[in-house]
C-alpha cells in the first residue's frame, strides 16, 4: 500500500520540480543579459612589451625555435622504460607472448588428434572433448596477438636501432608471416565456430590446416630468435649475405623441434589444469567424471610429450656447442651452470607429481591391488634419481668447510655432481615414469593373447637391458677421458628411447582384446589429484620461463651473438635470483590471465541471465515456503 502511495507522489512531484528548475534557470539567464555592458580598462598599446627583458625573452625564444628547426635527425639507440627498465619490460612481455603462443599452438595439435580418434572410433565423447579443448583457444588467440603487437611496439620504442637491424635482415619474412597470421585466424575461427556444421572430414581438414599454418608461423618467429643466438648468413660486421642462411642457422631446427614438443607438454598441462579446476567446481558426478577424464587426457598428453623433451634438449645443446664452444661452456660451465640445478629441482618435481598422479589414478580402476605393490619401488627410484640430479658439483660452504672438504666439491657427493651421474639419473627418471605409465595402462586388464608370458618377459628384458646400459655407461664415464665421456650420453639416450618405443609397441599388441578385471570409474579421484594437475601446470610454466631466460641470456652482452653488441645500461647478465623473480612475476601474470581465459570460456556453458534470474527466484521462493512458491505467480498477477 505504502509503495503504491510513494509511486503516485513521485509521479506528481517530478514534473513540478522540473518546471520550477526550468523557471529558475530562465530567470538567471535573463538577469545576466539585461545588465549594462562596461568596457574593461586596457593598457595603451605603446607601453606593452617594450622592456629590455621582454625583448631578450623574445630573442631567446626565436633562437630556440630556429635551433629546433635546424636540428638534424638522430637515430636513438635505446630508450628507457620507467621503473623496471627496458630489458625487464621486454622480457616480461616476450615471455607472456610466448606462453600464450605455446598454448595456442599446442592445443590444436592434440585437439585435432583427439577429434581424429573420435571420428575413427565413432565415440562422441572424444569429439566433445576436442571441442572443449578448442573452446579455450578463441580468447587465448586474441591475447597472443595482443601480446605480439605489444612486444613489437616495445621493441621499436625501446630498442629501435637493434629492431631496425633485425628488420633489415628478416624483412623478406614479414609479409609471409602476416599472411600466415591471417590464415591462422581464418582456420582457427572456422574450426571453432564450424564444429558440427561441416562434414567431419572437412572439419578435420580445417584442423589440419590450423596446425600446419600455426607451425609455419612458429618456424618464422623461431628464425628471428635463433639468429640472435647463433647468427649465420651475415658478415662479421652484420651485413646480410643470405637471408636463407640467416633463417636456417645452427639452432633453428633444434629449437623448432624442442618448441613443438615443449608446447604440447605445456599446452597439455594447462588444459589439464583447466579440467582440474572444473572438476573442483563440479556439482554432479557426471561433471566430475567428464572433467576427471579431460584432466587425465591433458596430463597424458603433457607427460607423453615431456618424456622425449630431454632428448630434444640434448640436440639443442649439441648444436649450441657446435656453433660456439664459448656459448656452450657459458651455458653449462659458466654463468648459467647453477641454473641447471634449479632446472633439476623443477623437472624432479614434475616427475614426482606426474608419477603421483598416475599412482592416484590407479585407484579409479577396479582391480588395481596387484600392481599397487610396485608403487613404493617406483617412488624410491624417482626420489633417488631426483636427489642425484639436484646435487651440485661444488657446494656453497664457508672457508673452513671448504678446507675440511679439501675443495669446494664434497669428497663423496661431489661425484654425483658431474654429467655422468646426472645423465644417468635423468635417463632412469624417464624409465621409471614410463614404467608408471605402463602400470597405469595395465590396471584392470589381463592379457589373454597366447604369447602373453613371452611378451611380458621380453618387455622386462628390454627394460632391464636399457637400465643396465644407462647405469653401466654412467659409471664407465668416471674412468675415461672427456672425449669419450661426452659421447656416452648418445647410447644412454638411444637405449632409453629404444626401450620406450619397443615396450609400447609390444604392449599395444599384448593387451589387444585383454579381459577386464574391473571398470574405470571416472570421477572417483581424490581432490588432491586435481591440485597435483594444477601444480604440474605451474611447474611447467615456470620451467618454460626459466629455460626461456637461459636461451636468451646466453648471449650475455650481445643482441646478436658476436655481431651486434648490446651497449645499453642493461647489457650485464643479472643474477639468477633476480632472473627467478622476473620469471615468477611473469608466471603469476600468466596464471591471472589464463584464469580470465578459463572464466570467459566457462561463460559459454553458463545459462542465460533471464534463466538464472528465474531459477534464483524459484529457489528463493522455495526457501520461504513451498506453498507460497506455488502461489507466487498468482499473487503477482493480482498485484499488477
Amino acid at each position: 500500500m505504502n509503495g503504491a502511495m510513494n509511486r503516485k507522489l513521485l509521479f506528481i512531484l517530478g514534473p513540478v520540480t522540473a518546471i520550477v528548475m526550468f523557471g529558475a534557470v530562465m530567470w538567471t539567464v535573463s538577469a545576466l543579459l539585461n545588465q549594462e555592458y562596461k568596457e574593461p580598462y586596457r593598457v595603451p598599446a605603446a607601453v606593452v612589451d617594450t622592456t629590455p627583458r621582454a625583448q631578450g625573452l623574445a630573442t631567446e625564444a626565436a633562437d630556440a625555435e630556429a635551433k629546433a628547426k635546424a636540428k638534424p635527425y638522430e637515430e636513438v639507440e635505446y630508450r628507457r622504460f620507467p621503473v623496471v627498465g627496458s630489458r625487464v619490460a621486454i622480457w616480461a612481455v616476450a615471455q607472456l607472448h610466448l606462453l600464450f603462443a605455446a598454448f595456442v599452438l599446442a592445443v590444436p595439435i592434440f585437439a585435432f588428434i583427439i577429434e581424429v580418434i573420435g571420428y575413427k572410433t565413432g565415440d562422441q565423447r572424444y569429439d566433445h572433448l576436442a571441442y572443449e579443448f578448442t573452446k579455450l583457444l578463441s580468447v587465448s588467440f586474441s591475447l597472443t596477438a595482443t601480446f605480439g603487437a605489444f612486444l613489437t611496439f616495445m621493441l621499436i620504442a625501446l630498442y629501435p636501432k637493434f629492431t631496425n637491424y633485425l628488420a633489415s635482415v628478416f624483412s623478406p619474412t614479414f609479409l609471409p608471416y602476416v599472411l600466415l597470421f591471417f590464415a591462422e585466424a581464418a582456420f582457427l575461427y572456422t574450426y571453432y565456430y564450424g564444429w558440427g556444421k561441416f562434414h567431419p572430414r572437412v572439419h578435420l581438414a580445417l584442423g589440419l590446416g590450423l596446425n600446419l599454418v600455426g607451425t609455419a608461423i612458429m618456424l618464422i618467429a623461431n628464425a628471428w630468435v635463433t639468429f640472435m643466438m647463433s647468427p649465420r648468413g651475415v658478415s662479421d660486421q652484420g651485413a646480410v649475405l643470405s637471408v636463407w642462411d640467416a633463417i636456417y642457422n645452427y639452432t633453428w631446427m633444434p629449437i623448432n623441434v624442442h618448441r613443438v614438443i615443449a608446447n604440447v607438454a605445456f599446452g597439455g598441462s594447462v588444459a589439464a589444469a583447466y579440467a582440474a579446476f572444473k572438476f573442483l567446481q563440479a556439482e554432479t558426478d557426471e561433471e566430475r567424471a567428464h572433467y576427471d577424464w579431460m584432466g587425465y587426457i591433458g596430463n597424458f598428453v603433457a607427460i607423453s610429450a615431456f618424456l622425449p623433451l630431454p632428448f630434444a634438449g640434448y640436440w639443442l645443446a649439441k648444436e649450441i656447442y657446435a656453433f660456439s664452444q664459448t656459448l656452450g661452456l657459458t651455458m653449462m660451465g659458466g654463468a648459467f651452470s647453477w641454473l641447471f640445478i634449479i632446472q633439476a629441482v623443477l623437472i624432479g618435481n614434475l616427475f614426482l607429481a606426474a608419477n603421483y598422479y598416475l599412482w592416484l589414478g590407479m585407484g579409479r580402476v577396479e582391480g588395481m591391488q596387484p600392481l599397487q605393490k610396485f608403487i613404493k619401488y617406483l617412488l624410491a627410484g624417482v626420489a633417488l634419481c631426483f636427489a642425484i640430479w639436484a646435487t651440485p658439483r661444488s657446494i656453497i660452504a664457508t672457508v673452513s668447510e671448504i678446507r675440511a672438504m679439501g675443495g669446494s666439491a664434497h669428497p663423496i657427493l661431489g661425484y654425483l655432481g658431474v654429467m655422468s651421474a646426472k645423465n644417468t639419473a635423468v635417463n632412469c627418471l624417464i624409465l621409471t615414469t614410463f614404467m608408471s605409465f605402463l602400470l597405469y595402462r595395465r590396471t584392470g586388464k589381463v592379457a589373454i593373447v597366447p604369447w602373453a608370458k613371452m611378451g611380458h618377459t621380453l618387455q622386462l628384458a628390454i627394460f632391464a637391458g636399457a637400465a643396465f646400459v644407462v647405469i653401466f655407461l654412467g659409471i664407465y664415464g668416471y674412468f675415461v677421458e672427456a672425449t669419450v665421456r661426452i659421447g656416452l650420453s648418445v647410447p644412454q639416450v638411444s637405449s632409453v628411447l629404444f626401450a620406450m618405443v619397443s615396450i609400447t609397441a609390444i604392449d599395444v599388441f599384448l593387451y589387444r582384446g585383454a579381459s577386464k578385471t574391473g571398470e574405470v570409474r571416472w570421477g572417483r579421484m581424490p581432490v588432491i589429484s586435481q591440485y597435483v594437475l594444477i601444480f604440474i601446470a605451474v611447474t611447467f610454466t615456470w620451467l618454460m620461463g626459466l629455460m626461456g631466460y637461459v636461451r636468451s641470456g646466453l648471449r650475455q652482452h650481445w643482441h646478436v651473438y658476436g655481431v651486434i653488441r648490446d651497449t645499453s645500461p642493461d647489457a650485464f647478465t643479472p643474477t639468477l635470483g633476480f632472473a627467478t623473480q622476473v620469471v615468477s612475476a611473469t608466471v603469476l601474470m600468466f596464471f591471472a590471465l589464463i584464469g580470465f581465459v578459463f572464466w570467459i570460456s566457462s561463460l559459454h556453458d553458463r545459462p542465460d541471465f533471464k534463466e538464472r534470474s528465474n531459477a534464483r527466484a524459484r529457489e528463493r521462493s522455495s526457501e520461504v515456503s513451498p506453498e507460497l512458491a506455488v502461489d507466487m505467480p498468482a499473487a503477482r498477477t493480482q498485484t499488477s
Binding site: Q325, F535, Q556, D566, T580
Partner: protein, 230 residues
C-alpha cells in the same frame, strides 16, 4: 568454514611460484658485467704485459671458463695450463713457444692437444675479439707458466707483424694498462690495432697515467662476489 576452490588454487599457484623463487635465491648469485675495453700502452715492459695478460684471461678473454691452472683432481674439460710454456716449446715441431701460443689463439684447430676435443674459439674474432696487443700480453702471461716471458709489444709472429720499436723507453711506475667502460674516454696513448700489421700505438705517448696495474676509472663495478660464504 569451507575455503572456496578458487582461493585454494590461487594459494597453490602463489606457493609453488614462491618456492621456485626461493630455490633461485639459494644458488650462488653472480652478476656478469660486459668486458671492459682495454687500451694497452705502447711502453709496457714484458713483466707488465704478463700482469695485463693474466687480467685479460680472467675477464675479456674468458679463458678460465674452460682452462684451469694446477688442477690435480677430477677430469679435465680442456688442457690445464700449469707448466704450459715448457710443453709449448716442443709441442709442435718447428714452432717456438711464442709461435705455438699464437697458433692456438689465432688458429686453434690447427693443432688439438691429444685426448681433448677441439673447442677453442678463434680469439681475435668476436665474441671474444682480443686485439693483437692483448694477445701478446696473454702470450706473455702464458710464458710465465713454466718459463720466463720474453715477448714484448714489438714481437712479431706468424699472425702479426709488429711495427718499428718506439723511441721512448718505458717510464718507471707507469700504468701498464688503462681499462675504460664502453663509451668512456680512454687515456690518449694510441688506439690498438685490430688487424695484423696495424701500428701498435703511438710511439712516445705520454706516460702520465696514475700508477697501478689496471686502473679502471669510470668503469662499471666488477662482477659481484658470489654468495658462497655463510
Amino acid at each position: 568454514m569451507r575455503i572456496p576452490h578458487t582461493l585454494r588454487v590461487g594459494t597453490l599457484v602463489i606457493a609453488a611460484t614462491s618456492f621456485y623463487t626461493y630455490v633461485g635465491q639459494m644458488v650462488p648469485q653472480k652478476e656478469v658485467q660486459p668486458p671492459q675495453e682495454t687500451v694497452i700502452r705502447a711502453d709496457l715492459t714484458t713483466a707488465d704485459m704478463a700482469k695485463v695478460g693474466r687480467e685479460i684471461m680472467d675477464s675479456k678473454g674468458l679463458c678460465f671458463t674452460c682452462h684451469t691452472i694446477g688442477k690435480t683432481e677430477g677430469p679435465l674439460r680442456f688442457p690445464d695450463l700449469a707448466g704450459v710454456d715448457e710443453r709449448a716449446k716442443t709441442r709442435v715441431a718447428g714452432l717456438s713457444d711464442i709461435e705455438y701460443f699464437a697458433q692456438t689463439l689465432y688458429e686453434p684447430n690447427a693443432f688439438v692437444v691429444p685426448g681433448f676435443n677441439p673447442g677453442m674459439p678463434v680469439i681475435n674474432k668476436p665474441p671474444i675479439g682480443l686485439t693483437d696487443q692483448e694477445i701478446l700480453c696473454v702470450i706473455a702471461y702464458l710464458q710465465t707458466l713454466g718459463g720466463t716471458p720474453t715477448v714484448t709489444l714489438q714481437t712479431s709472429h706468424h699472425y702479426y707483424t709488429a711495427p718499428a720499436a718506439p723511441g721512448a723507453a718505458p717510464a718507471a711506475g707507469a700504468a701498464p694498462v688503462q681499462a675504460v667502460a664502453p663509451g668512456g674516454a680512454p687515456a690518449p696513448v694510441g688506439t690498438p690495432p685490430t688487424s695484423p700489421g696495424t701500428p701498435a700505438g703511438a710511439p712516445g705517448a705520454p706516460a702520465a697515467a696514475p700508477p697501478g696495474p689496471a686502473a679502471t676509472p669510470g668503469a662499471p663495478a666488477p662482477a659481484a662476489p658470489a654468495r658462497g660464504t655463510r
